[in-house]
Symmetry: C2
Subunit: 437 residues, 2 copies
Amino acid sequence: MPDVAHAHDLKAQVQATRGAGRKLAGLTTEQRNRILVDAADAMERRSDEILAANQNDCDLALAAKIAQPLLKRLKTTSAGIAEMAMRVRDVAKLNDPLGHVLATTELDEGLVLEKVPCPLGVVAVIFESRPDAVPQVSSLAMKTGNGLVLKGGVEARHSNRVLVSIWRDALAAHDPALSDSICLLEDRAEVMQVLQMDREIDLVVPRGSTEFVNFVFRNSRIPVLGHGAGICHVYVDRAADLGMATAVVVDSKIQYPAACNAAEKVLVHREIAAAFLPQVVQALQSVHVEVRVDEECRRLCAGADLVPATEEDWSTEYSDLRITIKVVSCLDEAMDHIERYGSRHTEAIITRDSDAAARFMEQVDAASVFHNASTRFADGFRFGLGAEIGISNSKLHARGPVGLEGLLTYKYKLRGSGQLVADYVAGGRRFTHRKGK
Amino acid sequence: MPDVAHAHDLKAQVQATRGAGRKLAGLTTEQRNRILVDAADAMERRSDEILAANQNDCDLALAAKIAQPLLKRLKTTSAGIAEMAMRVRDVAKLNDPLGHVLATTELDEGLVLEKVPCPLGVVAVIFESRPDAVPQVSSLAMKTGNGLVLKGGVEARHSNRVLVSIWRDALAAHDPALSDSICLLEDRAEVMQVLQMDREIDLVVPRGSTEFVNFVFRNSRIPVLGHGAGICHVYVDRAADLGMATAVVVDSKIQYPAACNAAEKVLVHREIAAAFLPQVVQALQSVHVEVRVDEECRRLCAGADLVPATEEDWSTEYSDLRITIKVVSCLDEAMDHIERYGSRHTEAIITRDSDAAARFMEQVDAASVFHNASTRFADGFRFGLGAEIGISNSKLHARGPVGLEGLLTYKYKLRGSGQLVADYVAGGRRFTHRKGK
């Protein structure tokens, strides 16, 4: 078995990761990118080792009769490894998010304040069966000079061990003191301990089911980057192009129904409801979407096979081929409904009325607000962020799809020559507060 | 009594604040600044009313025998009101933090993504006796288009009622629907309820004792902006100018000992300890600072009246005329000590060695890292932020002294013409990801 460290003493382990991460942050951009490229090369060179470990995991998973979708996510191939390596090289090519100055203020002659980006410190990522999460988050964390604590699913443990050992080897080849920059935890019980380590770990990124993410939000003393439910709406305004609206609703629902940015509800303006509803219902049903509707909608689609919506439907994320439709009297009613039931993730308006679109985009409280586009565009790759550490439903720090900047904070550096606050308070000296760049 | 709304139905009250805040966010910069200036004018016009209410609070406080420093913070004067008004006008003069575009990306022809700043929504500020907190945080929240829930100390309730009514009047004069943008809570029991309202409130700012702030951190389901302990160090390097070091240590300690950015510990390099310690100890004692020391320090200052430090001293914030000094063997030992005991608030190095300073500022994990300057400079006003909503010990969202930007988040606006994700996945269309500005 490779030299992946196991956490006998969890706190010491995480502190070692913190220390190694600090060394990593001191490297140059070129050195950190070199580690990424070396790890990508090693993944391809050692692909037989990865595939054998992955086969082992898959065999055990089959024997344990795990669910088919889980097994599918677990399985990797030569092509899968090549893609993992390619994505790591892409991250190496991204601009360095460190090493520049965000703002400079001369507080007084010879007393200069700089605001500079810096790594968070240690990031813990807790993920489920996909082994490709290892190279993805490792590349993002190493690029940004952070220590990384990984906790993978037990069903992927052999694959994860090999992948983590490849990264630790690439770090060690640069400097043995760097190898602890990544550590892998395997014991599920350690998750609760990790969530209490608010002095050692700066950010937790849970990836998995809504239930799991909510569990982490409730139990963590550390800030969490993640999203619980994704209850996204498409509001079809009275000034909508109905053909466009139907196409956007269908794409938003079926393009990948399990995604958090899939549409779960459609709000339809009363003035176009009679014309629009039969058309959108037919389009959804023809691609096997179960359609739930409010009473008014049901009357307007008499004869169609529709399920009456209950109050619970409005706040339920289906993550499946199911959608609920409601008729509203105006834009404000649509926005009030979204304020009440939305998850502040992604909300779309379909309209030719630019004033209505502007009001919707201004007033709806969500990370992403779209005009005439599918909710499925809310994604770090599609947004052009280059890489995505996760999606955040929180408004603080990072919101919506989050790229490298989600793993950074900033610090203030002040350089003086012995200045004392007493002199400024007494009035002997005055602040100039001259802004640089 | 003025028309300050009392929270009989707390949730409905906060929801009204949320709705009014959304209307406020829709105003122009000029309109929001006008409300600030009107409120400042009204504070001066109604100063007799404020002073009478404040006298009432002070009389009750005297009768209740509250502590002298609390009474001092509670008391206001005509000059105090003029200063409050001036500070509100200063906030009105700051650049509008809203209304511009942070980044633009053309995802494809006719599909344009904008990242724009927007208000958080509703901010709750919980503060103690100082009534000047009302105009200060009101001006910051109204400037940034946020609803504001205020909970003041019971000892300042009459003063707070008048001040809040002045702000609500200024809002109502602009548009009656805006007056709920600020609400004042008076019942201590409501604090716990407020901390659970994570759907209605976006940020909690606790101001008060470390115990209170820590209580809020532990009990809030809402993100918290605040700081607990401030355990700041001054490290006096072997290459320090000893006169400068003494002056900076004294200023960092005594300029305002109760502040969170006051120095609590001094770390001294062994090579200069014998020369420096007697000098700094004498300087501190001459201004009535109790000096605690480690064993080595005590030997080097034989004859001085020094208290032996205990392990507990290293992690204790005195907020008083007391300081603890330790001898270290090198820069790394100093940094390790700070990593172990520091509160990541403000840390200073005194040295003529620019390499040592650079390493210290790079590697020490704190919001503010200073070279040859007093820790007391860590402050929003001194940093030139124009206004300060608080100081954050968290690394996420906002760190260190936090100005207007701490009350903002951002959203992504995507404008298209019916684009579907399926077309990009199938390869029929490709992303251009052309960056704007």
